[in-house]
């Protein structure tokens, strides 16, 4: 794939086999490619790197027939976190993205219904940010 830094990892030490870091734009292409060869979206994790003023979104993929585990990660600036949605390729990502939006405030462009999932409907706070005060 274009513009992606792939570093193989040892499954016994890290739990996944391939670690792909790419720009936010390439996330949908990666999802389509992996979806095409039978991968399934495991989960999406948001990480708030407040020191580097960046937000990271990590996509985990597993394959129902092979032990191969692929991780795709992308970083976006912290003050305007915007990542295109993959819920077109994996409808399961719909809930994952809503939850990541709940906790970190990362907007997912093109998401059909980006309302709070786990927090109350009128919640405007993002609790898992490092600078969150209750």
């Amino acid at each position: 794939m274009d513009g992606a830094v792939t570093t193989p990892a040892d499954h016994a030490a890290k739990g996944y086999d391939l670690d792909v870091a790419l720009a936010a734009g390439g996330v949908v292409a990666a999802a389509e490619y992996l979806g095409g060869i039978g991968f399934s979206l495991d989960t999406m994790t948001g990480v708030d790197w407040i020191a580097q003023n960046e937000m990271e979104v990590v996509y985990d993929y597993f394959h129902p027939a092979s032990p191969l585990r692929i991780v795709v990660r992308t970083r976006v600036p912290r003050d305007n976190p915007e990542v295109p949605t993959v819920s077109g390729v994996f409808p399961g990502a719909n809930w994952h993205e809503r939850e990541t939006h709940d906790f970190f405030g990362i907007r997912f462009a093109g998401h059909p219904n980006l309302t709070p999932l786990l927090l109350p409907e009128d919640a405007d706070y993002h609790p898992l940010r490092k600078d969150f005060v209750a």
């Binding site: 890290k14 739990g15 495991d42 990590v58 597993f62 129902p64 027939a65 719909n94």
Partner: protein, 375 residues
Amino acid sequence: MSASFDIGAPSKSGETFVLNLGPQHPAAHGVLRVKMTMDGEYVMRSEPVIGYIHRMHEKMGENRPLAQFLPNTGRIDYLSALHYNHAFVGAVERAARIEVPPRAEFIRVITSELNRISSHLVWWGAFLLDLGGFTPLLYAFDDREKILDLLEGVTGSRLTYCYFRFGGVRDDLDEGFAGRTRAFIAQMRPRLKMYRQLVTDNVILRKRLEDIGPISPELCRKYGATGPVIRGSGVPYDVRKVEPYSVYSQLDFDVPVYPEGDCMGRYRVRMDEIAQSLRIIEQALDKLPDGPTLGKVPRVLKLPVGDVCYAVEAARGRLMVRIVSDGKEAAYRLKLRTPSFSNMSLFEEASRGMMLADALALMGSLDLVIPDIDR
């Protein structure tokens, strides 16, 4: 979910109304709310609303040392708590490279499989309660109490276990444990045969479950559903076989798979899994080596910088714990990939156009534990 999935206009004779299968509902197995747009008896569109029991497990993972998060793992999915202990402990051991003595690994497998049986028994009782049969719940809880006595003798609690430690398990098994477990297995097998005759072969159950709520392998892959849901649709995906962890590679057991993909397929997968777990426990008891049950663990545990994942086959499916660490005592970010979250996310698309009673049978066959969804 975008409304493009509507199945045609409502029938001419009646308007649609919104039914609240709300947080407090016997078939919701907890506080799950599903807003169902109904046309008479048929579900036009169902929209699950979750978050009513969100308990901030991931936030708690970040503000306390790793060892203090162990009690939380028993309270995320309290029916198969030991699997969550196993996932969290496994992730930390994988990151900090802690050696686990073989005896502890076998004890982990034995207690986890006992926990899987007790979780399937609760599912079986509650599922048939949804379908209208009350008596199986009493049989299931009768058997489950026997398992709880076994596990309580070893772990000390009945439900929210906190038995695994980094590098092994808290206590060794007492000498009577193996005998009591074998007696339980000997007593459980004829019970399973009785359940099959009384319930599985019951024609009413067949009519209620066969080709109701079909879930295709493609739908499972799109939503990331795993566990008995994907094995009920013909895909033999079991983390114990595909990504072997602990000592499951030394034990031989087969993974029950049924191709139909309907509620009956998922029902049969779980009933066969109880039999398989009994086999696993027997083999693990035979191969139980002697030796210590707790490896060497540094006094103050700090994980190396970077992230680590560890996947486990919980009773409801693939459970993965991802710990991102920045070298301090507490985890920088702790992500719990819980099986019920993905299993439930396909309910919206799978329950279109079904009758309300069948939609509830489908929800029961997904075996949901709501704090497992909300975390």
